[in-house]
Amino acid sequence: MTGRALLPILLAAILIGAIPLFVTANTVLNFLVFTLIIALAAQGWNILGGYGGQFSFGHAAFFGTGAYAAAILQTRFGINAWAAFCLGIAAGAAIGWIIGYLSFRSGLRGSYFALVTLAFAEVFRILANASAVTGGAAGLLVKLDVRPENFQFSSRAVFVWIALALVVAVLVLTAWIERSRFGAQLVAVRENEGAARALGVDALRVKLLAIALSGGVTAAAGALYVQYFLYIDATIAYGTWISVEALLAPIIGGAGTVLGPLVGAVTLHGLGEITKTLAGRVPGIDLVAFGALLIVAVAFAPDGIIGLARRLRARIGRGGGA
């Protein structure tokens, strides 16, 4: 990987990582942690949806699995929180592989694949809502015991850095995918699966690897959510809200780009938060801003903020488009 590819990642890491050093307001730090969790979930979606072209409407299935696995292993089996966190990621990847195997092997593509993922997430939600091991509809509460070995910290800054470290790790992973043989095959499958097959690409294997990676990354977001909020129920874990968040951030930021999900998540949530602070007396004003941004993005930047920036740079490069 070249330095050129890593430079923007390094810049983003330094920029966000420095915030807790200068800002002590927990309002900002809390906002940052939540935005980074969303960014992480969105990065997971981006690997499968952005690079692989397999649009999932049900990334909640992975988010929830990561969250529940981390919570159940801790509360019911007394496993260390850090180990539970890692196992949560593994569980997400495994669920990704299973869902992928079942749907890709049957040749489901496009809207059919999207619907199947949506169905999986809903089935998981209903199961989690009814089963005893997930605490049913009452949810699971991770015991509040603020110690570093329990993955609980008194300072919100530590959580910012952990979330950021995960986001940066996935940024590097995505940058590597973009330049690797696997990434090229994945993009080939996205652009034309038939042609990719004709060139000898094992489309099923490539897609399965992508969905397992995607599931693992989004599960990390779920597990982090549990460690941070210490509570999970079926609607939070497998609700459609997270599927939508995971899908919107890359679309706004730029699907199939390394920084797209992070840029999208920060823009969406940043804008929402700023509107709320400035015009806090009107309930729901941030949601209006959210919707307006979405319309503007779809109308003027169909390839996301990163795509828009690239187009602008290309124009300036050509001599300013006068």
Binding site: T27, N30, F31, G136, L144, Y231, I236, T275, A279, F300
Partner: protein
């Protein structure tokens, strides 16, 4: 090319955006007039799925704060006024946590509210990091007060307490009428309240001599209850015990009325609609004789009657959230008054030792044990002649139960 076409539009867009930005930035300057006061945080979900309940809660808190200020504020602190700092929990726990952080940054001395259990679980925990006293208004999940958080107080009864009373009163009701009801159909939403309640009923009702014919779950939101109603008709139970949110129960009650399905009684527990004046007003026939075991105000309390008139004069609905939040704010004001300070540790201590009686709920004196008010209790209500009456316990009742209902 598209890029050329876009250019003027984008320029206009930026111009408009800039203007809008300036306008929004300029606004809060005059909105936030500073007065030396004690800041009290109120958290309610006023957007999203729970917005209706959130608005009721906010209304109750607002009226109480205004009343306290009009009566001279906190006397032990030289008549200091209470200032509301409001946070919108947007019907989800993350937003609730973010609002706690905001209220903490604003320097509130305590927080009241939360409404839904998941929101309360998250917000009380976030407040605990700052030893910020938190009074839960509704949140019935018993996990809220079982975590050993010293900052968390729940004024109202929890799930265990409500269901226990509901079962006892059901038996009492049935026995008094000569045991007309033997068979039951449970209808519940598949979330926290519904499922938990159905599970409890399934184990407890048979012990008390009732036979459960079937348990029917439905999602929230549900847009059609015809199948549920038809199933009830074919089972023909003596009692229907529904636990659903507002919209779904209204739908079920209306469908049952249209299909002329008339069991001997509809006995709801913690129902979103059965003790809601909006339902009674909009669908008086469907609501007739529906019973509920829920939070409710003390109908014999004159202050409660005045508050009800005041709220209804504003054209608003007097839901249980209003008197509950009203009482919670009064409870907090009493604690601040006795502490003689807005210091968090002192307010927490004053809350923990509270014996507050000046509320408008059918509770006795307040007494917190591990954060739960042991003086709290639910009541049984029944819709009678277009009004909601209390039928149990006798000490607060303003009507006799109508059971079995004559179809």
């Amino acid at each position: 090319m598209t890029i050329d076409l876009l250019r003027p539009t984008r320029r206009q867009l930026i111009k408009t955006a800039a203007l809008g930005g300036v306008a929004t930035i300029a606004m809060p300057a005059y909105l936030r007039a500073q007065t030396p006061a004690i800041k009290v945080g109120i958290i309610q979900p006023v957007t999203g799925a729970l917005a209706q309940d959130g608005e009721f809660g906010r209304l109750g808190a607002e009226i109480a704060l205004n009343e306290i200020n009009a009566a001279g504020g906190i006397k032990s602190m030289g008549g200091a006024k209470l200032e509301m700092v409001f946070g919108d929990a947007r019907s989800n726990p993350e937003a609730g946590t973010q609002e706690v952080e905001k209220l903490q940054a604003e320097g509130v001395c305590a927080i009241v509210g939360g409404f839904a259990s998941p929101i309360c679980l998250a917000t009380t925990q976030a407040a605990a990091r700052y030893n910020l006293p938190y009074i839960v208004d509704v949140g019935v999940s018993d996990q809220i007060v079982s975590r050993g958080l010293t900052n968390t107080f729940r004024f109202a009864p929890g799930f265990g307490m409500v269901t226990g009373v509901a079962l006892d009163n059901l038996v009492k009701l049935n026995d008094a009428a000569g045991k007309p009801a033997k068979t039951v159909v449970l209808v519940h939403e598949d979330g926290l309240f519904g499922s938990g309640l159905a599970k409890l009923m399934q184990t407890e009702l048979p012990k008390r001599g009732f036979e459960i014919l079937e348990t029917i779950a439905h999602p929230t939101p549900a847009r059609d209850m015809s199948n549920v109603a038809l199933r009830i008709r074919s089972l023909n139970p003596d009692l229907v015990i529904p636990s659903s949110y507002y919209g779904e129960f209204v739908l079920l009650a209306r469908t049952m009325q249209q299909q002329r399905i008339r069991p001997k009684g509809i006995y709801a527990v913690l129902n979103g609609a059965a003790s809601n004046y909006r339902f009674v007003k909009e669908f008086p026939e469907a609501a007739a004789n529906v019973m509920d075991c829920n939070h409710w105000y003390d109908p014999r309390n004159t202050k409660a009657q005045e508050l009800k008139k005041q709220v209804e004069a504003q054209g608003k609905v007097f839901a249980y959230n209003v008197p509950l939040n009203y009482s919670c704010v009064k409870l907090l004001a009493d604690a601040i008054e006795r502490a003689g300070s807005a210091d968090r540790a002192k307010v927490t201590e004053a809350l923990a030792s509270s014996t507050f009686k000046d509320h408008i709920m059918p509770y006795g004196a307040t007494k917190f044990v591990n954060g739960q008010n042991t003086g709290a209790a639910p009541v049984n209500t029944q819709v009678q002649n277009g009004d909601i009456k209390v039928i149990f316990p006798d000490a607060f009742a303003d009507a006799k139960p109508v059971f079995p209902v004559q179809g």
